[in-house]
């Protein structure tokens, strides 16, 4: 029988303290807390959480194992469907996925599935199994990009015996996990680096500083380096701007630039040479996770930090937990506000941002109520930094240097459900295909593509039976 207790609260760093450091906000459950929270699960006959999970993790089953204190069993169940539980437990939008469909959530609070997944993931990292010897099958596969989709694809292929090499453009491995998501939400050493170590232990080789489309091309990897198949998981790294006046003033950054300086280049740490500038008052334009990450980073760097978003709070695309944490940390939210112009001083530095108030009209094609300008509502916000967090699109470098690789009008690589692209032997997945989405979807796409690559190579190399 399910234990009818309220959701076990998770320990967090004090908001006033954490707003001045980059250490992880949430401490997660310990064993006792995890087992207690696990006991709340109703074990529904028809578990809606499983359907709502993008990779259909057998949630009630892993929670059952946890209730019995069997972490290894829980880890094995999660591993069937997810290769990055420590990461997804921290960054998945659970409130719209598993937890959002938990029956307990109708009258009270859903089971803390994300926190339980994180507990199991962290437990497995601390208890790595003995390395198993994997027989190599002699087939070479290249993976472009070391983000969630690339890591997931590479580790599955390595487990099947393939010789896998990941090519990463940056100097650090992890893609958006290292350049995009801040340390206070996803620790780099304790979590990301250890997940990557686990992938390397499977025999996956990783070469950094290789930019596909420049240093190598899809064709050179296949023709000159002998890769039989390629998985492209190059992400969606190109920042968007609004196209308004003043966007090239000094002090206007893309969220990508601001976060890359802070996360990848560790500019917040005096030991590192890369500069960063958050100003005295920073306005972040946007309402997604990246906007929350940028505004909370600016706050930690000492700025007064403000979110400007053109719809209302209900439409904020960010994870509920991040919005909640941002508010606790003293971030100001200006909803139904849209920038029209960035204002500069004589030296060309930002001095403010001109905005209009919005109201919400009928739902648009995204299903959300469309923001409409309130006439005559112009006003200014004083600030010396503006950060644009308006979403990203895929980098065109690979598509533009690979003949016959089809892309759609948004610049995304066209791939079927298995990741197969218009080029034979070339597969793709993650944000490069979908546009900016979630870690778990990218991870799922990488795993599907790994299975498809295995089928592709086997079909190509197995001699066909002759009809005699």
């Amino acid at each position: 029988m399910a234990n009818r207790i309220p959701r076990v609260p998770v320990r967090e760093q004090d908001p006033a303290v954490r707003a001045t450091n980059f250490e992880e906000v949430c401490y997660g459950y310990n064993r006792e807390e995890a087992m207690l929270e696990a006991s709340r699960c109703l074990h529904c006959k028809n578990p809606r959480c499983v359907t709502a999970c993008p990779v259909n993790i057998r949630i009630p089953d892993f929670i059952k194992a946890l209730t019995d204190g069997d972490e290894a069993g829980a880890a094995a169940i999660i591993a069937e469907d997810s290769s990055l539980p420590s990461i997804c437990g921290r960054v998945c939008p659970q409130e719209t996925q598993c937890e959002g469909s938990c029956i307990l959530g109708i009258k009270g609070e859903p089971v803390a599935i994300g926190k339980l997944e994180r507990y199991v993931g962290d437990w497995s990292m601390a208890h790595p199994g003995k390395p198993v010897h994997i027989e190599r099958n002699g087939h070479k596969v290249a993976v472009i990009g070391s983000g969630p989709s690339g890591l997931a694809c590479a580790s599955d292929l390595a487990k099947m015996g393939y010789e896998v090499k990941i090519f990463e453009a940056l100097h650090e491995v992890g893609g958006v996990l290292v350049y995009g998501i801040p340390e206070f939400r996803l620790p780099k050493e304790a979590v990301v680096a250890r997940e990557i170590e686990a992938v390397k232990r499977l025999g996956v080789e990783i070469e950094t500083d290789v930019i596909a489309g420049r240093t190598v091309t899809i064709d050179s990897l296949m023709d000159e380096e002998g890769y039989e198949a390629i998985f492209i998981g190059s992400g969606a790294g190109l920042p968007r701007f609004m196209g308004i006046e003043g966007e090239n003033l000094n002090g206007v950054f893309s969220a990508n630039e601001f976060l890359t300086r802070a996360n990848l280049m560790k500019a917040y740490d005096k030991e590192y040479d890369t500069p960063i500038y958050a100003g005295h008052r920073a306005v972040v334009v946007g309402g997604g996770n990246v906007a929350m990450d940028a505004v909370r980073t600016a706050k930690r760097l000492g700025a007064e930090a403000i979110i400007v978003y053109r719809r209302s709070e209900a439409e904020l695309p960010a994870r509920a937990e991040e919005v909640h944490h941002a508010k606790e940390e003293g971030i100001e939210f200006r909803m139904l506000t849209n920038p029209t112009r960035i204002l500069g001083d004589e030296q060309g530095r930002v001095r403010g941002i001109s905005c209009v108030e919005m109201t919400l009209g009928e739902p648009d094609e995204s299903g959300r109520r469309a923001p409409i300008v309130k006439p005559g509502s112009d006003f200014e916000i004083d600030c010396d930094v503006v950060i644009m967090a308006l979403g990203t699109s895929p980098n065109p470098l690979i598509a533009s240097t690979t003949e016959g690789l089809e892309t759609n009008r948004r610049g995304c690589i066209v791939a079927d459900a298995d990741g197969a692209t218009s080029r034979e032997g070339v597969f793709a997945g993650g944000d490069a295909v979908t546009g900016a989405a979630t870690v778990i979807l990218a991870m799922g796409a990488g795993r599907k593509a790994a299975a498809a690559i295995d089928r592709y190579i086997k079909a190509k190399t197995t001699p066909k039976k002759l009809d005699i």
């Binding site: 453009a169 420049r214 240093t215 701007f241 950054f253 990508n256 890359t260 990848l264 590192y272 030296q347």
Partner: protein, 285 residues
């Protein structure tokens, strides 16, 4: 990887290094650049490629010491390694894709200033190897700051030198020499390529505009990743915002908003940097 195999000083504060980077050497073309990170604490610094040797698997980078990161790069000795050298980045020079017969009908004028002389060299060398005529002007404040003159003499049709103090060649700015070549000596050029300090490129572009001479400039904007991700390198070209790293680094010099580009280049400059630069102010235009 990325071991320094040769090192020499071309001028007091300009250092040339040959670095083992087989993949970059194999893929490099004139006009492209690399991103260098000296050690785990270092910045990602965009540097132009001064030469590349596919057979040897090396690229040559030329660095002027202007701040923490460039000082750290130049402090490395032969046998030591850069943490990272990624590239080649950016689009190759436009002429690389023009049919050679077409190129041979053209006469190029290259205008090189200061450390910008280094990336001019592989371009002129490439044209020379393809039988295309290219005159080169190298400008510097004074004779001791001239770099790449011997190398350039071997590949240029004519090499002209301009120094502010007249210690070698023409006395004055490169713009004065361009005027003299075209107006006094009656030289005709079909295309001009100017690489050097922003301020030099700005005035070269203003000068060549009077003659309707198509001018390409190579911008050394601030960058973080160099692959299109950060947008730090955005530049206004003909009223459109472009990214230097993926749309450039070469642009039509008559369309670039140089004042904005110079302002953006100074975005992170501290007072200390400014003071440092004042004492090394380039007067080559």
């Amino acid at each position: 990887m990325f071991e320094i195999t040769e090192k020499s000083y071309l001028a007091e504060n300009i250092c040339r290094m040959k670095v083992a980077a087989p993949r970059v050497a194999h893929a490099a073309k004139p006009g492209q650049f690399v991103i260098v990170r000296v050690d785990q604490h270092g910045e990602r610094v965009p540097l132009t490629i001064a030469d590349y040797d596919t057979a040897e698997g090396t690229v040559t980078i030329v660095t002027q010491t202007i701040g923490v990161s460039t000082n750290k790069i130049c402090a490395l000795e032969v046998g030591e390694r850069l943490a990272d050298l990624a590239g080649p980045l950016g689009r190759p020079s436009e002429f690389v894709d023009v049919p050679v017969e077409e190129l041979r009908k053209r006469r190029y004028l290259f205008v090189a200033g200061g450390v910008g002389t280094a990336p001019v060299y592989p371009q002129v060398k490439w044209l020379h190897e393809h039988g295309v005529e290219a005159d080169v002007i190298i400008g510097a404040k004074t004779k001791s700051l001239l770099i790449y003159t011997d190398e350039m003499r071997r590949v240029a049709s004519h090499l002209y030198i301009a120094t502010d103090d007249g210690s070698e060649g023409y006395k004055g700015m490169v713009t004065g020499l361009i005027k003299e070549l075209i107006e006094v000596r009656g030289e005709h050029y079909d295309e001009c390529v100017a690489i050097g300090p922003m301020i030099m490129m700005k005035f070269v572009a203003l000068t060549t505009k009077q003659y309707g001479l198509k001018t390409t400039v190579s911008l050394n904007a601030l960058m973080v990743d160099g692959t299109g991700m950060c947008g730090a390198c955005r530049v206004s070209v003909g009223g459109k915002t472009l990214f230097t790293c993926i749309d450039g680094p070469e642009f039509d010099g008559h369309l670039v908003d140089f004042d904005e580009a110079m302002r953006r280049q100074a975005m992170f400059r501290t007072q200390e940097h400014l003071a440092n630069e004042k004492s090394h102010e380039c007067k080559c235009f």
